[in-house]
Amino acid sequence: MLGLPAEFTPDFLARLEQLRIKTRREYVGMGKGAHLSPKRGSSLEFSDFRHYSMGDDFRYIDWGLYGRTDKLYIKLFQEEEDLLTYIFLDASASMAYPVGDRKFESAVAIALALAYVSLASGDRVMIRVLAGEGDRVATSLVYGRYRIVELARRLVAVKPGGQLDLVPALARELVSIKRAGKVFIISDYLMMLNSVTTGLGLFGAAAMDVTAVQVLGGRELSGQGIEGNVELVDAESGERVRVAMGSRSRQQYHETLMRLSREIRSFCFKRGLHYTLYTTDRGFHDFFLRAAAELGLVH
């Protein structure tokens, strides 16, 4: 439908529209919106008092306080602005394997769903693709839910490929971001743990509200299909490892992957980041709506 992935049924879109992104901080937006801004403004949310100055709108004078103190005070209110949402999508070669698991397609669907939630809430979205082949998607901040079609068209055209060094790649992106906001980083995170923590830590240090979405294949997680003497080739680095896979080895492999995932989750928890794991053998709709809180979404 409109070039969107098959997961985007009308019913699913309707349910996405009921969600909105919740941040743990207040960020300055680029226009009026539904998120509280650190700026003083005209919302109903009381912020502070200050002494009355000439020219102030006397509608905001707190007359009760004048009666008690015999001094004029002006009530200050918080501003409500839109939220700037940054979605970083890992399109490195590792996202293409195992082929049957459709990891990258699932990651694209998650990115588009998050983008739609943001756009439907009146926020602004920027999607950046890390690595990948074909046209590099480097959108500026877009506004309006209709822009989801354009985003979808451009993301679907991306083919996973190349090698991703997460820390430099995120550092480059961080430099280009002028205003802080909500950050989603969607990847399989199959890399050294310190790369993951450093990369995620960059955005944390920049006062961004980060959500790490890890996408793993169902068969990838179980090691299914790798049997006997095999020479494994790393999709990104080309590194080769020979192993003899049996049931015990497969179990050890699975435990190693799960340990890596737990360590990323633990890091995010300590740093106040959101984390969620999606395995492609789960139903997409079910995952997205159930994991809304972990993704940093609210109804």
């Binding site: 070669a93 590792s94 996202m95 293409a96 394997y97 195992p98 082929v99 049957g100 990891k103 399989d188 199959l190 890399m191 050294m192 294949g217 068969r219 990838e220 299914q224 299909g225 790798i226 049997e227 006997g228 003497n229 095999v230 020479e231 494994l232 080739v233 790393d234 999709a235 990104e236 680095s237 590194e239 080769r240 490892v241 020979r242 192993v243 003899a244 896979m245 080895s249 050890q252 492999y253 190693t256 992957l257 890596l260």
Partner: protein
């Protein structure tokens, strides 16, 4: 256990070769994964082998096992099993039908004792059963268990045929030689002459049984072409006392004649029945009855009572005139040019004068002065101006009652030696009268022409001619029937034979019929469904002599070397090949499943 070809084990050297080939060929399957990060830990545990060699998996082990089994199969291993082959010679001749004092037949008594004897043998004893009648023969393939042999013996039955004691003796001598069997069991009514070899056990049921028997039943025509027959029976008394024996003769079920005669103990008499009314089948029954009823009944069949149809093929038609004077002869005359083989099939006999057929006639035939060098009979003839008869065979149905000293032959031709016809009458320059049998048909050739001299003027020639015609028309003494167990040639045109038991056997003309072990009337059925009866009877007074059983002689082996050890090599090759096939199938399944699984994830 041993190996038939141990040198084949040298092929075990192929195992290292297979290992090298496997290491060279069997590179691990290359699989691209998203990251080898989680696999690195496995490599440290068990994945990598020294020098980068892949780990030997179950498939390789299976292949080594298949190769090893193949090498073993080439060496043909076997296990040695001790065996005890036993030969059982069971007498099933007609005399075994005699009833003993216990009320059972000799055969039943012998069979029961034999079963009891075999019960004591090991269950896996290898037993081969031989029967003695009509010819000594193996009953079936060797039995692997005593129970099977007992069961087969339980199904055996005594025949109406006599046995051949000399042949049985030779069989027992061969079996007792120790080359094939560790032990021989002989169950019979015949005692064994002299000392019995150590490896022969006997079950002899030879209690004397008083018996009265019909020894033979012969029919002759009173004259050529005459309807009346003359019957002659030989009666024997094998009892300790003289006995009046009464014979009742029936023809086609109707009483024809009776006769009786006092026969001394162990005496034999002949009883004549002149002028018997014509019948297809004659049955003689002896009274009083005894414990061996088989030889108290005898059968005989007459030739066709209808006129004898003679086809005369000759360029000189006038020579057939003398045959028309014979009573009961229906004559057809044909020139050689118009003769066809189908004509001969319709006649009882065919006479070829000065000519021979272009193919062997499918009926009895007389060749009178045939030309030499024909391709069918290949007669070699020499003209003779002066003929002196030098010799003749006697007794013979062709020369019976012929006074050859009065027989004058003016001119004719001599036969040289013939491949399959025998010279019955010979002259000073070679054969004058040849006779032979081919494909069940009788053929006679004369080097002289008897027909111009037929009549009372030349009585010896007339008798000789009638003998020839009688012989060829099947009316001679030899035509009365056959003895049980005696094989006979299936006559031309016969397609089926119905046995006395009413079961029928499909037959081919010219082949030997060996199923004639029952006494009674056999119906020979031709293509048109016409039946010709043929009698078969025991007709063996030696077999009927139950008072004094003839002993059988077994020649003892030259050296008594004690019980021989018999072993059998049980080959294991078939089991090895079966195991190889199972392993190969298992390997195929494993390889297929692995490949399919890999393709599902990494197409």
């Amino acid at each position: 256990m041993g190996l038939l070809y141990p040198s084949a084990l040298v092929f075990f050297a192929l195992v290292p070769a297979l290992l090298i080939a496997y290491l060279v060929r069997e590179r691990p399957l290359r699989v691209t994964v998203s990251s080898v990060l989680a696999f690195r830990a496995l490599r440290g545990l068990k994945g990598e082998r020294p020098w980068g060699l892949p780990q030997l998996d179950w498939l390789f082990i299976v292949e080594v096992m298949i190769l090893s089994l193949a090498v073993l199969a080439m060496a043909q291993p076997y296990v040695v099993r001790r065996r005890k082959p036993i030969a059982v010679v069971l007498d099933n001749s007609a005399a075994m039908q005699a009833r003993t004092a216990s009320g059972q037949t000799r055969f039943e008594v012998v069979r029961a004792r034999l079963a009891a004897m075999l019960s004591s043998e090991p269950a896996d004893a290898e037993i081969t059963v031989y029967l003695t009648a009509p010819q000594p023969h193996q009953m079936a393939e060797p039995f692997d268990a005593a129970a099977q042999a007992r069961s087969a013996i339980g199904r055996a039955a005594a025949t109406d045929a006599p046995d051949q004691r000399d042949a049985v003796g030779r069989l027992l001598t061969e079996l007792a030689s120790g080359r094939r069997f560790s032990e021989v069991i002989f169950a019979s009514s015949h005692p064994v002459n002299g000392s019995v070899p150590r490896n022969v056990r006997t079950i002899i049921v030879a209690d004397p049984v008083p018996n009265f028997a019909i020894g033979s039943f012969r029919l002759r025509r009173e004259g050529f072409g005459a309807a009346a027959l003359r019957g002659r029976l030989k009666l024997a008394n094998f009892s300790p006392h003289a006995q009046t024996l009464k014979v009742v003769l029936t023809g086609d079920g109707k009483p024809l004649a009776k006769a009786e005669s006092l026969v001394e103990s162990r005496g034999v008499v002949s009883v004549e029945f002149p002028q018997l009314a014509p019948a297809a089948v004659y049955r003689a029954e002896l009274q009083p009855t005894d414990d061996f009823p088989l030889d108290n009944v005898a059968y005989a069949t007459a030739g066709a009572i209808k006129a004898v149809e003679v086809l005369f093929v000759s360029p000189v038609r006038a020579d057939a005139d003398s045959l028309t004077t014979l009573a009961g002869v229906k004559l057809r005359v044909q020139s050689p040019e118009n003769f066809s083989p189908a004509d001969a099939e319709k006649a009882d006999l065919t006479i070829f004068e000065y000519t021979v057929p272009k193919e062997l006639p499918s009926g009895n035939a007389l060749m009178v002065m045939p030309p030499g060098g024909d391709p069918v009979f290949n007669f070699a003839v020499r003209p003779a101006e002066s003929i002196q008869i030098a010799s003749w065979q006697r007794p013979d149905p062709l020369t019976d009652e012929v006074n050859f000293r009065l027989l004058e032959l003016r001119r004719g031709e001599f036969f040289d030696l013939h491949p399959w016809m025998e010279s019955i009458v010979s002259g000073n320059g070679g054969g004058l009268l040849l006779a032979g049998v081919r494909q069940g048909h009788r053929y006679v050739a004369t080097g002289f022409n008897p027909f111009p001299y037929l009549g009372k003027q030349n009585l010896p020639m007339s008798v000789l001619t009638l003998n020839m015609l009688s012989y060829l028309a099947g009316l001679g003494a030899d035509s009365v029937g056959y003895r049980t167990g005696e094989p006979w040639l299936v006559p031309a045109g016969v397609e089926k034979i119905i046995l006395p038991s009413s079961s029928s056997v499909a037959v081919k003309p010219g082949t030997l019929f060996t199923a004639g072990t029952q006494q009674g009337i056999y119906q020979l059925v031709d293509a048109a469904g016409e039946r010709r009866p043929r009698a078969a009877m025991l007709g063996d007074l030696a077999e009927s002599d139950l008072d004094l059983s003839v002993p059988i002689t077994i020649q003892a082996p030259a050296e008594e070397t004690g019980p021989a050890t018999f072993t059998a090599n049980i080959p294991l090759t078939a089991y090895l090949i079966a195991a190889m096939l199972i392993l190969a199938a298992a390997e195929g399944v494993i390889a297929y499943r692995r490949k399919r699984r890999a393709l599902e994830v990494h197409p």
